[in-house]
């Protein structure tokens, strides 16, 4: 398939263009809006997301999912995989904006900038999900990172938030520097930046003996530092608890879902397209390396979550652990693994965002992010407590909630490659995770609060909560999501 030239490509990136246009429109619009009407800025960005979503469906009808189109001379690619991730990312961004509307942490005067940045970061993530060139991979990653740094530090009055942004930058700078070095090594060895051609090039140079397997391994390890940092995999996860704790809650939710999903999109495309040919796997077994990273990630995430008393920080560690579960699928380099990740990400989107939404609501009402603030929630806010219990049980992976079906698909994929040890580690981790999720449930249901005022929430709050609860219950029972996850493939 011949890559399209620059001008011809424009028709296929309308969703991206829409996002950029709205990002600019939002900041201009903000100049004319009074502080007490600043919600309109959020509505405008929601409209932007809606338009982008419509544009995706329109361009989608132009494309045959089985026949990907290569755009901008091979820089990015439009295929079913990219479209799936774009929709997922838009949903996550929309949820983040809705959370921000309800969050009382954010400074109204900065709303314009805030939403511009959110749309910009989504644009960067779109590129992450579709890049097929080493250079483009780096640029998209940096676009996302730079905007995320500012978003993490958005609570100008909070020292914790500034600390979070600073840590994020420092860590991010090192990680992306390392990654860039790895990319240049790889480019030097393969002589091309196009990841669709890298595998054959590498196989050739490996065979001719010009390059040793060790060299390739070093280059890939350096690149993994950059990607691993985005998906918070061990040992590049250290930034995430502090950043998640310090950042505004909607941004924490956004980072833990959207940023992770985009990271996985990049990761999957890079490894599945670039490095899954048998010749390469024969000389360097990525799968073992990735499986070990996955096992470490989930174990470290879960063990570190055990003693946490701050729910936000607890969920930060839990999302590291979930990154580990997802990595199990990625480590396999099989279509089953890919399908399981796709399914799990859909489920994770709803259950994790839902849990963070409850954190936003409780932080607004009780002013606390600590587990103590959840005491007696079952009588103070029965529906919110019920929803939170569903999200947490789903995160643990207990049927009949969607999280169970997601985990089951992942373990199914792992065991079909005979990686029993990895499946055992993953399942034991699920048991461990029950312990800390159940601490929140225990506080909500089995303990009573000193203060027994009833929390009151608006109807729209419950409606939004329902948007997360219903899929968390239903996704596992609907065949359509399973067939969707099977349909999306990478060449």
């Amino acid at each position: 398939m011949e890559p399209l030239k620059n001008i011809e490509s424009l028709a296929y990136i309308i969703p991206e263009i829409v996002l950029v246009v709205f990002a600019v429109a939002v900041i201009i619009f903000d100049l004319f809006v009074k502080d007490n009407e600043s919600d309109w800025v959020a509505y405008l960005s929601l409209i932007g997301i809606g338009c982008s979503l419509i544009a995706i469906f329109i361009t989608n009808s132009l494309v045959d999912i089985n026949k990907p189109i290569s755009l901008f001379l091979g820089m990015i690619r439009l295929d079913g995989f990219a479209i799936f991730f774009k929709i997922l990312l838009l949903l996550a961004t929309a949820a983040t904006i809705l959370f921000s509307l309800r969050s009382e942490e954010l400074d109204v005067r900065l709303k314009g900038e805030y939403h511009t940045l959110l749309l910009a970061v989504t644009f960067g993530m779109f590129l992450m999900a579709s890049s097929t060139n080493l250079l483009m991979i780096f640029i998209s990653l940096e676009t996302v990172s730079l905007t995320s740094y500012i978003l993490a530090g958005f609570l100008t009055h909070s020292p914790r938030s500034s600390e979070a942004a600073f840590k994020y930058i420092t860590y991010g700078a090192v990680a992306s520097g390392t990654m860039l070095f790895g990319l240049s090594l790889l480019f030097g060895m393969a002589g091309t930046g196009d990841i669709t051609q890298i595998s054959s090039q590498i196989a050739t140079v490996l065979e001719s003996g010009d390059v040793s397997a060790l060299g390739v391994l070093i280059a890939i390890t350096f690149i993994l530092a950059g990607i691993g940092y985005k998906i918070a995999s061990v040992p590049f996860h250290m930034w995430s608890p502090d950043v998640y704790e310090g950042a505004p809650i909607p941004i924490t939710a956004f980072l833990s879902v959207a940023s992770k999903a985009a990271g996985f999109a990049l990761f999957l495309r890079f490894f599945y397209t670039g490095f899954d040919t048998p010749e390469i796997i024969q000389s360097i077994d990525w799968r073992l390396l990735l499986a070990i990273v996955s096992a470490l990630t989930m174990t470290v995430g879960n063990l570190a979550a055990l003693p946490q008393r701050n729910v936000k920080r607890l969920l930060a560690y839990s999302s590291i652990a979930h990154g580990g579960y997802l990595l199990m699928g990625a480590a396999l380099l099989t279509p089953e693994g890919l399908g399981a990740i796709i399914f799990y990400l859909i489920v994770y989107l709803f259950m994790n965002l839902g849990a963070f939404y409850v954190v936003v609501l409780i932080a607004n009402e009780s002013g606390s992010e600590m587990i103590e603030g959840y005491r007696g929630l079952s009588s103070r806010a029965p529906y919110v407590a019920g929803a939170m219990a569903i999200f947490l049980f789903s995160l643990t992976g207990i049927p009949p909630f969607a999280g169970f079906f997601g985990k089951w698909l992942l373990f199914n994929a792992v065991i079909s490659e005979d990686l029993y040890w990895l499946a055992f580690i993953g399942l034991l981790n699920s048991v461990v995770s029950l312990y800390y999720y159940a601490r929140i449930i225990k506080a909500m249901y089995l303990e009573s609060a000193e203060d027994t005022d009833i929390f009151s929430f608006s109807k729209s709050t419950f409606a939004l909560l329902g948007v997360f609860v219903v899929p968390t219950i239903l996704i596992g029972f609907l065949n359509i999501f399973y067939s969707l996850s099977k349909k999306i493939t990478l060449p």
Partner: protein, 510 residues
Amino acid sequence: MDQILLSLMIFVPLLGMVVVFLLPNDREELIKRVALAFTLIPLVLAVYLFIDYNKSSAETQYFVSVPWIDTFHINYHVGIDGLSVTLLLLTALLGPICVLASWRNIEKGLKAYMALFLLLETGMLGFFASLDLFLFFVFFELTLLPMYFLIGVWGGPRREYAAIKFFLYTLFGSVLMLVAIIAVYLRSNIINDVAEGLRTFDIPELIQRATVEGHALGDSKFQMWVFLGFFIGFAVKVPIFPFHTWLPDAHVEAPTAISVILAGVLLKMGTYGFVRINMAMFPEGLDYFTNGDGFLGHSLALLGFINIVYGSFCALAQTDFKKLVAYSSIGHMGFVILGLAARNAEGINGAVLQMFNHGVISAMLFLLVGVLYDRAHHREINGFGGLGNRMPIYTGITTLAFMASLGLPGLSGFIGEALSLFGAFQEFPLLTILSTIGIVVGAAYFLWTLQRVFLGALNPKYEELPEINRREILTLVPLGILTIVLGIWPNIAIDMFSKSVTNLVNIVSI
């Protein structure tokens, strides 16, 4: 039409949960009546199925199979054979009894309590009826959540600890089971290392495929490993030593009705699963642990023996009435394990009968403990004395339950245990003889308890203790009648499942 009855029975309590949920919080009487109605419907259906079930056939009856998750060949497949119809009846019978037993003593959140209880009932009924491995697992786990809350919210002083311990133990067991399920699924279409046809989760289909020459499921090493995976999952539930330590905690903290369900049904889920999956699907795996050669070949019988003797001696040492009954449960479930380990018709028939009987008798015992606790607000055996004069009816029913439980001939407990021992004696004579120690100790602790609680001088504190009331008697009478009837005429039950058991014996005698 008939096909739908089974599914109706499973999901009526779920519908009841929704209905209860929609009722206003303060209409407590109404909530209780609605919950009772929604547990009575499955009972009526279960009795109908029990009567209508064709005993002369070992075939699965009333089966329904509709595609659920096509992509992974998962079906909603339910059906009953003699074994499951018996346990369904037990579950459906205990449902309304437990609602009645919770009539007065649930002080807070009655609505949530009843809703969770109905959800639990759906989980249990679905578990005993499912014939698809995936569905089976989902129902198995579905009982976890309501149980966690029922113990954790409405339990005694150490309820939080007991609830999380129960949850963690069971979850640990079930994740191992999940690995085994996936392993079985992935090999379900491999014959002589070549994939043929589609994979399946269907239990009868898997059992059939395992017997095909050269099928990956038939490989004896593979069977041994998946056998272990399932076994640990079920062993936690039964509970089999050394996975039993959650049980006394859970029982002591749980409210009366929940203890009844725990002992009456949840423990049976472990042994039922063992029969349905471990024995029927992995006879070669079973062979490793029950063929009588060496330590490994004795291991299952040994575990049964340990359960019996260890459970009984622990019960002997208890001074908490409820804990005593809990440990006696561990002991009595040992007979089930021992009978199953024998792999012959007597042993398995005895074991299945013992499952049903233990469900009835332990339910009675826990109800009786609850009656006493509701009046005296403690369960210390040594704190009573001479209640026989004060509460003659209560004493009479308790004596019946104790006698049934300690295995007095003429009452139901005897038949199951005796058959299990007959069966086991043919295979493991020494262990069987040693196991009878458990019966002697069982007689000792029950009679001793009887003496300490009901005989002697009446503790002056309890001179005003009211007699057992009509509602409480109503919960006990059906169970009492069953222990007497099944003691005299055990064939009503045995006839139901003997054909299915014969089938099973053919599978396991390889």
